[in-house]
């Protein structure tokens, strides 16, 4: 066998292997990419890996919302994820990159901005830190610089706080989390924000995506959510702000934040869902910022279960073909976004986010239909979701916020949200009715007529957030919205601890002991394989990995070996000559 024949054989073998692998690339969805928010980055990574298991490749880079919006506007990526829109009063005025094509925004996930900290008290890690919103504002504007400051001590009676500097870790890159945080400062604590701007030279009248740190000695700026999280975990006496999932991912504690009712809450899926019932969603479909959020009422919501720093994150998609997106890529984008909005929501609670309520899911799907090239299969899935919501009885997407038969505006997570033990019956009463679970959102998607009356919003007047007052009973003494109507028969009980639960894997929902028809669930759900194909033995994936490993080894070893071989041969020739 000659040398060339051997090489030819090897090439043929490689071709065979790759040819064999080709069918594993399921469907005909071509690869697309997006970038943006790292606040929502963990959610995106979860969806990317799940659609990856189905053979659809989507790349997502958590580079920060500012970079995401810019790359999308410059047609470098097919989609972006951002907390804030391009325009409007919640946008960053300094940021003036705009897409020169039509686009729309769709909410993809909800979450809470958590304050992860690294503190030691006594012998172990302190993990029960409580903070009032005022204290957070003072810490993050550089006015409180010691951990044992009395404003922090007031919320933590009996805790021996260390006499150390508060090292505030903020994002150095342009970030939607920073934009949302400074917007909260601007709206809730304008005088503190003005003081920050006085020191650092920022504009006190607008939020910013770049946290100003100039001249603040106890501030550290790090790059990306992963950067601030790792930095905080590695250094004592630090505190940062970012999505709850980051702290959860490494098992670090986050501060319990005092809400307007005077209770300390964590950014759990329930607390976020409760708070976001007050998010004012832009309901004008003609607006560029249709479905964008105004969180002003969220901050001061009086529900004792509410987590005040909750927000939605948005995917920005083109609604016409552009330099970056042709119809084939649009098909992938449609598939991916539909997956994220539908099945993708189920895992959000475990990750540290909160799933979208069904009315926003439907509205977002309507926006998604405008993406050029969305294929029939995806459209059919969206139709099916809408139909099953309307029809009731079948669990649409198995979204944990939705119970078949209810209005899509009712968020089941709100109904099942647990109360603080200190909140007695009187304090709970205003919040256990149907109306309390109502999400603001496009009314046109409300399908279930029977519950529309029950969906009337409670007349909540929003007083200024109270920063003092004992937790117990504080909620009850405020403006008390009264539940308009007792829950309709057939819906699950009025208690806070709802008994409906859906199995994330099988799609079967159980109400109490009664098992809902599991069979109907299957027609809606494409079962998601959570194990990689072939993981039970030697499969194509393993084969591919071995081939890749071999090629890498060749790539690394071949040049030096070849050089040495040539040198030796040359030396031999010299010697013989």
């Amino acid at each position: 066998m000659t040398r060339s024949a051997r090489i030819a054989g090897m090439v043929a073998a490689l071709c065979l292997i790759f040819a064999g692998l080709a069918p594993a690339q399921a469907a005909n969805y071509i690869r697309i990419g997006g970038s943006g928010s790292s606040w929502a980055g963990n959610a995106l990574q979860d969806w990317v890996s799940r659609v990856g298991a189905q053979g659809v490749t989507v790349d997502y880079e958590s580079k920060g919302s500012s970079t995401g919006r810019k790359e999308f506007a410059d047609s470098m990526k097919q989609f972006a994820v951002s907390e804030i829109p391009y325009t409007g009063d919640t946008a960053d005025p300094k940021d003036n990159s705009r897409p020169n094509f039509k686009y729309s925004m769709l909410p993809v996930v909800a979450g809470g901005t958590a304050y992860m900290y690294n503190l030691r008290a006594g012998s172990g890690r302190l993990d029960t830190l409580k903070l009032s919103q005022k204290a957070i504002a003072k810490i993050f504007t550089g006015q409180v610089t010691k951990w044992n400051d009395k404003i922090i001590a007031a919320d933590n009676p009996g805790v021996a706080l260390p006499d150390g500097t508060i090292n505030v870790v903020v994002r150095s890159d342009g970030s939607g989390a920073t934009a949302q945080f400074t917007l909260w400062l601007l709206r809730q604590f304008p005088s503190d924000y003005a003081k920050l701007c006085q020191v650092t030279g920022c504009d006190p009248n607008s939020a910013t995506s770049f946290f100003p740190t100039k001249g603040l000695k106890n501030f550290v700026a790090q790059n990306g959510s992963q950067g601030v999280t790792t930095y905080t975990a590695n250094n004592l006496y630090t505190i940062n702000y970012d999505e709850y999932s980051y702290a959860r991912g490494i098992d670090f504690p986050v501060a319990q934040v005092k809400n307007a009712a005077g209770f300390y809450t964590l950014p759990t899926e329930h607390a976020v869902a409760v708070a976001l019932t007050q998010a004012k969603i832009n309901q004008n479909p003609k607006s560029l910022n249709y479905l964008s959020q105004d969180l002003t009422k969220v901050y001061g919501y009086l529900d004792p279960r509410s987590y005040p720093m909750s927000a939605y994150s948005y995917m920005v998609v083109p609604t016409e073909t552009t330099d970056a997106l042709n119809e084939a890529q649009g098909a992938t984008l449609g598939y991916f976004a539909n997956y994220a909005l539908c099945e993708g929501q189920r895992s959000m609670g475990q990750l540290g986010y909160s799933p979208l309520p069904m009315n926003l899911v439907l509205a977002a799907m309507d926006q998604l239909r405008k993406v050029p090239g969305v294929d029939k299969a995806t459209l059919a899935k969206m139709d099916q979701t809408a139909a099953s919501v309307k029809k009731g009885g079948t669990p649409a997407c198995n979204n944990p916020t939705f119970k078949p038969g209810d209005s899509p505006a009712l968020n089941q997570l709100v109904r099942s949200a647990p109360f603080d033990a200190a909140c007695d019956a009187g304090c709970r009463a205003p919040w256990t009715g149907e109306g309390a679970a109502e999400n603001q959102g496009p009314g046109s998607t409300g399908a279930n007529k029977g519950n529309e009356a029950a969906g009337a919003k409670p007349a909540v007047k929003q007083p200024k957030p109270r920063t003092q007052g004992a937790p117990a009973g504080a909620g009850g003494s405020g403006a008390t919205p009264v539940a308009e109507q007792a829950p309709a028969a057939g819906t699950v009980g009025t208690t806070a601890e709802g008994t409906t639960s859906c199995d994330a894997d099988t799609g079967a929902c159980t109400a109490g002991a009664a098992v809902a028809s599991a069979g109907t669930g299957t027609q809606l759900l494409t079962p998601v394989s959570t194990t990689i194909a072939g993981s039970n033995g030697w499969g194509q994936t393993q084969m591919l990995l071995v081939v890749i490993g071999g090629l890498l080894l060749v790539l690394v070893l071949a040049p030096p070996l070849l050089a040495r071989e040539l040198e030796a041969r040359r030396a031999a020739r010299r010697d013989s000559a």
């Binding site: 970079t67 150095s172 100039k214 690394v556």
Partner: protein
């Protein structure tokens, strides 16, 4: 005198056939492959040159708007970076870039010198081959990997060393760290993180390979005759290295160091991952907060209004010029040393 000279020369140079004394014209006859080779190399060279000039022209033309707005003097002397309020300049970032590069050089140069001497003079056989391969492999490690290593592994472990330096040598302004009470029992590491020092250490790891391979090359060319001569005169190995190898390789040492400097000045992602960006002129290298031009561009380019972009282009242009000067100087030194002038004299 002159008559004697002309008399002796005359027979050798016939005056009447002066036109025959013209130098013979050399005619190159190129074969097809010669033409192809010349064409390819010529095009390659021109393309590289053109790309470099075009990049420079692009940066200059885009940056001119911002520089015109504030004036060149203010652009060079302002420490802040706030294009939206017309208050920006490269004083702080330029100084930060140079500081990081200086730390990197101080660490990398001795390391590279030692490594290359070991490879060429001490190690033999398989060890030399393995070491050479390892250095080449190190050069192939992507800078983001170095950055992650620096931010996630080196930094948590080196802060205590930083603290030790600042406690004992804090009286030198360079090693001073503000806001730290050495008597405090709390282990507050934050003031020592994200500093010029740590960024410089990581960059040092990245420039060691290029410096090592250039130094190794120049040391290998030290003539065998002179080496043996030194040994014959009774020199020890170190004596031979000092008197033969180092003088001969001087050009390589300087050139390699400066090429490393060029890379250190332009390093982006590793610095970007480690530093906490500050825009002030500071000389406390152990203290939290540093900056460099390349890292600043990477951080700020998403804040994309047109004017801010122009300001970043101007900063990029200044980095471009600085790196070019450094690299040209380095290649000039290397080229000079290659002529062998150092050893022949």
């Amino acid at each position: 005198m002159s008559t004697f000279a002309s008399a002796t020369l005359t027979p050798e140079r016939p005056a009447d056939e002066a036109d025959l004394a013209k130098p013979r014209t050399l005619r190159n006859t190129y074969t097809g492959s010669d033409h192809a080779f010349r064409g390819i190399t010529f095009t390659g060279g021109i393309i590289v040159l053109a790309i470099m000039l075009l990049v420079g022209a692009f940066l200059a033309s885009n940056g001119i708007q911002a520089v015109n707005e504030v004036g060149l003097g203010k652009f060079l002397t302002t420490a802040n970076w706030a294009p939206e309020s017309n208050d920006f300049g490269i004083a702080a970032v330029l100084l930060g870039t140079v500081q990081i590069a200086a730390v990197a050089l101080l660490v990398a140069m001795p390391l590279a010198l030692g490594t290359s001497l070991f490879i060429t003079e001490v190690a033999g056989g398989w060890l030399r081959k393995v070491l050479t391969s390892m250095v080449d492999l190190l050069a192939a490690v992507p800078s983001v990997v170095f950055g992650l290593w620096g931010a996630y592994m080196l930094q948590p472990n080196i802060v205590d060393f930083s603290k030790w330096i600042s406690v004992w040598f804090g009286w030198i302004p360079l090693f001073q760290v503000d806001g730290v009470d050495p008597a405090s029992p709390l282990r507050d590491t934050v003031p020592f993180t994200a500093s010029t020092f740590i960024a410089g250490l990581v960059v040092a790891m990245m420039i060691v390979p290029i410096q090592t391979s250039i130094m190794t090359e120049s040391f290998r060319r030290a003539p065998v005759g002179e080496r043996e001569g030194a040994f014959a005169l009774g020199a020890t190995r170190w004596g031979m290295i000092r008197t033969v190898v180092l003088p001969f390789g001087k050009g390589g040492i300087i050139g390699g160091t400066m090429l490393g400097l060029g890379r250190a000045l332009g390093e982006t992602i590793a610095i970007y991952l480690i530093i906490s960006p500050v825009f002030e002129i500071k000389f406390h290298i152990l203290e939290k907060g540093a900056n460099s031009i390349a890292a600043m561009i990477a951080l700020k380019y998403s804040e994309s209004n047109e004017f801010a972009m122009s300001a970043l282009m101007a900063a990029g242009f200044s980095l471009f010029l600085m790196t070019m000067v450094v690299n040209f100087t380095a290649s000039a030194i290397i080229a000079k040393s290659r002529s062998g002038a150092d050893s022949e004299g």
